[in-house]
Amino acid sequence: MTAEHDTMTRTALKVGVLNAWYGESHVLHGMDFDVAEGEVVTLLGRNGAGKTTTLKAIMGLMEKRSGSVEFGGVETINLPANRIGRLGIGYCPEERGIFSSLNVEENLLLPPVVRRGGLTTEDIFDLFPNLLERLYSQGTKLSGGEQQMLAIARILRTGAQFIVLDEPTEGLAPVIVQQIGRTIERLRQKGFTILLVEQNLRFATSVADRFCVVEHGQVIDTLTRADVDASTAKLNSYLGV
């Protein structure tokens, strides 16, 4: 990492001219953004804008991608997905990805520890007491909210300091949304860096430091939390509400 990057805060993730394709269909058209260490950044955008695809491309899960994804100063564009995961990125996909052939405990312990300093299982049950009660149930027999908790919990164990969450509040009751909001807040205090995709604008503004607005596979605007109040109208037009 060069000195320029080190000015105030260090860059955790730097995405440059990222392109990605599903087969022949070109979905990301040069995504450009970065995330500083300790920051919470949210990708906003309409349905189909390419937010999920961006996360998948960062994780190396797109078959075809080009451009640059630097993680902690390491260029990952040519690394296989499993090597990228090992660099210390925890990923919670849009469809949660709880395994039905594994019970809750196995789901929780599945992602291998990649760094020291992850949450202990006590910490996790402290955060998500529901999980402790259902430890031996089949993973997919949990409620949607519990599955979401499990999906987040299992990546906190691994020691990954960079967490990628795709719509963690989707379809959840307000109480649980609040709980997840508090969890993100606690993670930030612990020094985690978080990249988030969110449709729920209220939730997003309550947790994020910065917002990248995505449209047609490009970042068309970046706002800080301070900008948000002043630009509600602009945001609403971006999101088409």
Partner: protein, 613 residues
Amino acid sequence: MALNALFSQLLIGLINGSFYALLSLGLAVIFGMLNIINFAHGAFYMIGAFAAYFLMASAGIGYWGALILAPVMVGLAGMATERLLLRRLAKMDHLYGLLMTFGLALVLQGVFQVAFGSSGLPYPIPEALTGGVNLGFMFLPLYRGWVVVFSLVACIATWYLIERTRLGAYLRAATENPSLVRAFGINVPLMITVTYGFGVALAALAGVLSAPINSVRPLMGADLIIVVFAVVVIGGMGSILGSVITGFAVGVVEGLTKYFYPEASSTVIFVLMVLILLVKPTGLTGRGIEATQSAVAPEPASAQGRERVALMVFGVVVIGLALLPLTSVYPYFIMQILCFALVAGAFNLLIGHGGLLSFGHAMFFGSAGYITAHAVKVWGLPPELGILAGVAACAGLAALAGAISIRRQGIYFAMITLAISQMLYFVYLRAPFTNGEDGIQSIPKDRMFGVLDLADTTVLYYVVLAGFILGTLAIYRTINSPFGQVLKSIRENEPRAISLGYRTTLYKYVAFILSGTLAGFAGSLKVFVVQNASLTDVHWSMSGEIVLITLLGGLGTLLGPLAGAFVIISSQHHLAEFGQWVTVLQGAIFIACVVAFRRGIVGELAKVLKISL
């Protein structure tokens, strides 16, 4: 005394059950991770036994060493196979995996046959396990007891590994969602390689266990794997424990049959499969993973007008064939090609246009041959009625076999048709009218319709050619009828066809009957050409040959079967002196077709010329 015999048959049943369990367990583990039905499983079982033999013969390593070393060696070979070959199939239809591993099995078995012939090599029982104990109600040979116990332990250990350990959790998770598991930092491609290695190592372990009992033969796994397919159809591949229990249970049923009704012992497993499918079309566990849509044939014939090009080319070819007797070409050879081209065309109707891979078309080809031969020779019917009898019998057979198999898709359909065909093989092997290994020889060549003297080679040639043209036009007509259009849309997207209100099962069923009937027609014609009907034509290797001809010629093309038959039958003719190398070559062609050449000869040609053939 009788009780004694019962118990010893039960013991043999348990031993066979051990092999079924170990093999179907390996198949299930492999299928879970790779989505491939490993047809080469029987070959790896055989190689396991050979590895034990070699270790003993060349390095002086005995049974106990072989029990560990042989599976490890075979496992490593399996890992190399996965890396070099199977990996290329990722994301392709399951059926390609079946085809490629079938080719692999042919290559491996062929190589060992070339090197060792078909007879068995002896392998001694390890000294510590010779002799036996008298249990009062029976005499238990120690080695046999050991095989059962050890297999059981190996099965339970595998179950524990997969269901109760960390590594097993990775495996189960990767079966469900490989890319997410990868994103967690786990090297899934490596796991896939290791899984395949592990699966075939289990097969090799079974091979070592069986070496002292069954002796070591190149084809020891070839028939076994078909029985194991039936076991898999019965038990499904969804659960580890299910495979193990089904394997042992089926072995016991087989053992009991050997005692109570020995005539049925080689068919009982297939009968069991058929009965279970009749009662529960989805198999016992009901969780048999169905292959998704089988879009096996690469994008075939497009616009209606272009179809005519194929017909025109076909016309030109036919004219050429009609002029053939004027030349000095030996017609016998061409007649054989025509018969094979017709049966492959019938098969192609099913796979190329219906997306159904039948691995049992030899049952029609061979049955029709037997019936026609018997009708003409024993009943003294004229040729045309003999052919009619053969064709009608095949229509009936197809109606039965279709009723059993048609509701299952993809690999399951392939395994079921293969199993039914194998069952018939054993029936014909024992039925008195087929003369067993000798077959029905010297078929009389009477006058067809009272005028056509089939003893005259030229007349026979034109009769066969006319049959070929008739059959091919029937296929062409079917494909281009509204029925064929519906069939095509089923192949492309069955759920959509269902939602449009088509009773897709019925369409597939009719296609199956049509295909079986036409295949039978080819088999009946062939009787007059080769002058006999024999077991070769109902054997699974004949089904494989039909698949190969079609695949090589070009799935879903009108002229592919003829091109494929020409290449395959002439290579058999010209390379006959090389013995089993022909099998190796055919296996290699299978693999090459699947890896690099999925359109086949005619398909590639059509692509280059931008026309539809």
